[in-house]
């Protein structure tokens, strides 16, 4: 049986790990979401995995919110009995995120998909050929192309 985690103890553990406080984001149904600064991503995932045994990364969702223009938001969905998500946001012009491939090798396809569809570059991993988009695709990341989709 998968042991349930109490979300408050998770927040407490993360906060004393990375020093600054991070407020939980209540808007997501069925999931406990937590907004964390970009550069602490790796250490937070290490905390989740070592202290709480939460190893299962379901997927990485990338999106743009209307009320946060000029920013791409990445949500790392973990699962341990119930869903836990880590939310980070990066500037739209030069989206840079540190790859978590060293921690979770299962994240490879999710990172490559986000890189192709949203143009987010993941540092710390070798260059890989396109995963989903066709080889001769020259129209740029489909979700970012604002001008084509409106015509």
């Amino acid at each position: 049986m998968v042991n349930e985690i109490n979300f408050d103890t998770v927040i407490a553990a993360i906060e004393d790990e990375i020093g600054c406080d991070c407020e939980p984001y209540g808007g997501m149904i069925n999931e406990e979401a937590l907004r964390i600064p970009v550069d602490h991503l790796q250490s937070v995932i290490r905390v989740l995995r070592d202290q709480f045994g939460c190893y299962h990364l379901s997927t990485i969702t990338a999106q743009e919110r209307e009320n946060q223009p000029g920013e791409v938001e990445l949500i790392y969905h973990f699962w341990q009995g119930k869903g836990i998500s880590l939310m980070i946001s990066v500037p739209l012009e030069s989206p840079q995120v540190e790859s978590i491939l060293s921690l979770i090798s299962g994240a490879d396809f999710y990172e490559r998909e986000v890189a192709e569809l949203y143009g987010v570059t993941f540092t710390g991993r070798e260059e890989t050929p396109p995963l989903l988009l066709p080889d001769n695709w020259d129209l740029g990341p489909p979700f970012i192309r604002r001008e084509e989709t409106d015509e």
């Binding site: 988009l133 066709p134 080889d135 001769n136 695709w137 129209l139 489909p142």
Partner: protein
């Protein structure tokens, strides 16, 4: 006179022995499992002399399923080029006929007739095994008539 007789026997042989190869160019594999269903006991197309082949060199009929995605486009063309003539193309399912529910996406070209000359269109999403058999039977009659 002899020429006509040979032509007639060739046409009879081609009608009764259609070797089929199947290629999915981006569909949801609903039609693919229905094509595989044709081999199973309930529908059994071997009684019509139709066998599923694995190499394009041995095949006469190309069964395409799915809307043609940009990535699968040249693979489709390669297979069609490898098949020895006389060869026929059958578009199975609404996706390969017109691109159906996926038309309008940036990575989808639409129906198979954007690339290959199609002989028989079989609509349906997913198409029923009886529909595919009906399409193949009409193809046989068309071969017998010599188109």
């Amino acid at each position: 006179m002899i020429r006509k007789l040979i032509e007639k026997t060739y046409r009879w042989a081609q009608k009764n022995s259609l070797w089929v190869i199947h290629y999915n160019t981006g569909g949801c594999n609903g039609c693919d499992i229905e094509i595989l269903d044709l081999l199973t006991p309930r529908y059994d197309i071997e009684r019509l002399g139709i066998i599923a082949e694995s190499s394009p060199r041995h095949a006469d009929v190309l069964l395409c399923t799915g809307p043609v995605t940009l990535q699968a486009k040249d693979g489709l063309w390669q297979i069609y080029a490898q098949m020895p003539s006389p060869k026929w193309v059958v578009a199975v399912g609404s996706c390969s006929t017109t691109g159906a529910v996926f038309s309008g996406s940036d990575t989808v070209l639409g129906g198979v007739d954007h690339i290959l000359p199609v002989d028989i269109y079989i609509p349906g999403c997913p198409v029923r095994p009886e529909g595919i058999i009906e399409g193949l039977v009409q193809l046989r009659e068309r071969i017998a008539r010599g188109e």
